[in-house]
Symmetry: C2
Subunit: 533 residues, 2 copies
């Protein structure tokens, strides 16, 4: 960039500021973090300029300063100007005049913006899943801000607990709490705190599924809040439904889908009975949330059980397996079947279609592990699901002291989980735990002692000596009960969640929500989305 | 899917057909290939049904047949119905009554659709780059169609040569030629053939950059045709520009950007002189197109040189290096500097910013290789560009008999090239050529005999014994000449292509095209895209 380029950049900010004011905004942001151009001026790794914008920290901060001034002047001071910065790299760099380059920089800018909005960096570690980072994980990077500037400071860190938020303010770390993910999970988070309704907060589980929507460039989805992204198109409110129903519903299965369906059905006014076969509610999450790092995912169950237990028109039964005949006999007007899915021992074919099968005492699926069967080591985990579970199973087995080889059909461990910012941390976790990784390979056979693997592209075969094999690949819906009920003449039977189509938690909960909205009702799409009749 | 689900699916096709007719379409497609649901019925890998839609080929084809009939009836036969099928998997399956399941299937459907549209499959090998597949690569899979059905057959295969197209028709393989990529590169391909203007065809180079746009869900881009995706927004015609200019332009640099700029400037009416320092035109493509599989990329140069050589207002000089003083003395009204970029020996830092540098007789960049310097083996290729070049260099070195270790910061070889359907074939090519692959590692040091690599995530270090290191990482623009010209007082100096900002070929050519449109002109954006003043 030459001097004219810099003037152009500042001028573009000026015209953008005017448009923003005209569009009704009160606070305008200058972005000088997360790899954006002004941040590349701040960081000496990028900035090798020899003019007034390069070299010393004083020079490197000049562009950011000029941008803030230009944006402020553009609206005659009518709009406040906020500065968003990434601090992690700068804080790791020594400074001659301050504790770090971050301290020096903020000192130079201390009175320039009206608001500092600060965070770690721009990596997958910044917006990290709960699997790998606790709430408030930015604090060690941004805790010095208030000692350097008197301007208000806002920060993020997947804050979901009111106590943590209050602590951040009281300890003088932040003046304002920022929270994108928690607000997606519960848009009424601030109001519920204000009203002292902490138990009603639908806490973000930190699965980062929302971030996959951003990576995909599609409408946001949220595991905890199935209405996210459907507020306009379907007119779904996060908590309210029309109280439009009467009659009774039997929900069979008390996992994520069953409980979500029950909650929506109960809010609609149905008399709802949930029958869960096992001794506890939670479905797949009972076992999965006990895997390394996944504890917070159980909030899916906690929130729904908490709400359901306070409702007079809901009855919850555990240890209540139901046959089709028993369900018919129960006599509810509608039946929702949310019986989940089983992991299958099918292998992955050369064209990535599940094909073949290995059996034997040394072969396991997550369904087996959840039932308490444990493989002997050394163990291979064959992942062609390629989201979180295969890697979490490998971590759990390694933590139990087994020698683990993780074999994936993809080029990376937990390949799809790059969408949720998990993947780099899975790699690091495997390195810490000594999990061996084999990529781009499928399992071609296993005889109880030797695992044959074949390269997905070259077909080259290799052998690995293991005593056990865990296959995390395809799933099969447990939809049989619904078919039996229909065969017995049940008029209103609805499959929900994994029992309908196995997917991620977000899919099961969203599907169950929709099914519950549509039982004995007409589906609604706004006119501008609707299909002509 | 139960029987009602199948009826629903067919009914959705019926309503879609009616909407399509209402919207003015004449031919309606039923998709029964590429992983779409009807294809999953055709293929026994997916279809494990035990009802009338599963088992025999006769049963598996039933859904496709019913869809075609339903779509035809939906418009009362006013629209033709085409069937798109993938044939590769089906052709590899034996049949009791025909040469393969593909033959049997097409035999059963022989009179059902009005048009067969057939292709290989739905993998990266189907829509394969020229780097790995020749024109017409689908023929061995679909060559039997005309022996089984009398209905017209259309097929694809990146057809760019009129001779190949004519041969497909004359030999009875196809009745109609399909070509998406060639039509993006040159929308006037059929007209140019019709008018006998084969030399004017802007032939698709098969880089598959267009497919990356599809993967990204953004407007199409094309290396050969920089106007693709800008027809509406900027009003760019693929071949025509307003003849709005007079005066002279000196274009310095005869690579892809310089030639594109020269062509547009000449069409606008300028008197254009191109000064190329080297003995041949072509820039980076002179060397790169000699790498394994990249020969067709030189069509970028062939097309532009061919056009320029027929224009009276264009003069092309090779072996004509230009200093700033010489360029000033030349006295053109405008100067376009298209001097390209150099590959840099910077390394990749832990946070993926180019940092540090290794020097020494055993260290090379692609710029060195292009200049004729050859590394000694064993050699490591360190790729953190992660598009095509690092892998093509590794292939070239392996073909010369060197032992090659490819080290990438990414999780896969040629990581970004999954966007162009290259990546799986790069993996296969490496396996064939014996190139060793190390992933998620950066080079931490090299002393001429030992290469130190560090894992990107765990930081774990390892050593590799190699005699040479080729770094395919960052590039630095050769923009110095433009700066000197401005310092000497040149009034109208324009950087174009890599000299402005190093990028892929598509970026350089698109940028040069835009610069050439905008020399002494006012940039145009349609009102609905334009920024308020």
């Amino acid at each position: 960039m030459d001097a004219q380029d810099i003037r152009d950049l500042i001028q573009w900010h000026v015209t953008a500021a005017r448009r923003a004011e005209q569009a009704g905004f009160d606070i305008l942001y200058v972005y000088s973090g997360m790899g954006y151009l002004p941040y590349q001026f701040l960081l000496s790794d990028y900035n090798r300029r020899t003019d007034a914008y390069g070299g010393s920290v004083r020079n490197r901060v000049r562009l950011t300063e000029e941008l803030i001034d230009a944006v402020r002047n553009a609206t005659g001071g009518r709009c406040a100007v906020a500065l968003r910065m990434s601090m992690q790299e700068l804080r790791s760099r020594p400074s001659d005049v301050a504790e770090s380059e971050a301290h020096e920089l903020v000192g130079l800018l201390r009175d320039t913006p009206d608001l500092f909005d600060v965070k770690m960096d721009y990596s997958a570690f910044d917006c990290s899943p709960s699997r790998f980072s606790a709430e408030g994980s930015h604090e060690p990077v941004i805790d010095f801000m208030k000692s350097v500037t008197d301007k208000p400071v806002v920060g993020v860190g997947r804050f979901t607990s009111p106590d943590t938020m209050v602590s951040m303010i009281k300890r003088g770390v932040l003046d304002l709490i920022g929270g994108a993910r928690p607000s997606i999970a519960d848009p009424f988070l601030p109001q519920k705190i204000d009203e002292g309704r902490e138990a009603d907060i639908r806490e973000c589980i930190g699965c980062n599924l929302c971030i996959s929507s951003w990576h995909d460039g599609v409408w946001v989805r949220c595991t905890q809040n199935p209405t996210a992204g459907e507020e306009y198109r379907r007119g779904w409110h996060p908590e309210k439904v029309s109280k439009d129903a009467a009659g009774s519903v039997l929900v069979i299965g008390g996992g994520p889908a069953g409980l979500e369906a029950a909650l929506v059905l109960a809010r609609r006014g149905f008399s709802v009975t949930v029958a869960e076969a096992g001794h506890a509610f939670g479905g797949r999450l009972i076992w999965e949330s006990a895997l390394p790092g996944l504890r917070q995912w159980f909030r899916v169950i906690d929130y729904r059980l908490g709400q359901l237990r306070g409702m007079a028109n809901v009855t919850l039964y555990s240890e209540s397996p139901m046959t089709a005949a028993e369900a018919m006999e129960f006599g509810a007007d509608h039946i929702v079947v949310a019986t989940g899915a089983d992991w299958d021992a099918a292998l992955c074919g050369a064209n990535e279609i599940p094909v073949g099968r290995v059996n034997g005492p040394g072969v396991f699926t997550p369904t087996d592990l959840a039932a308490g069967r444990m493989p002997a080591g050394p163990v291979a985990v064959h992942d062609f699901d390629n989201y979180y579970l295969g890697s979490a199973v490998a971590e759990m087995l390694a933590d139990k002291g087994l020698a683990v080889t993780y074999v994936t059909t993809a080029g990376n461990a937990a390949a799809w989980a790059f969408m949720t910012n998990e993947q780099p941390q899975v790699h690091a976790s495997f390195a810490r735990r000594g999990v061996q990784v084999r990529t781009s390979e499928r399992v071609a056979g296993f005889d109880g002692g030797v695992l044959r693997v074949a390269h997905m592209l070259s077909g080259a075969e290799a052998e690995v000596q293991v005593a056990s094999l865990v296959i995390v690949g395809a799933r099969v819906a447990r939809s049989g009960l619904a078919e039996e009920l229909r065969a017995l003449g049940a008029a209103s039977v609805h499959l929900a969640g994994d029992a309908h189509a196995p997917g991620a938690l977000v899919h099961a909960i969203c599907h169950a929500h929709r099914v519950a909205r549509e039982v004995a009702a007409v589906p609604v799409l706004r006119r501008d989305f609707a299909v002509p009749g």
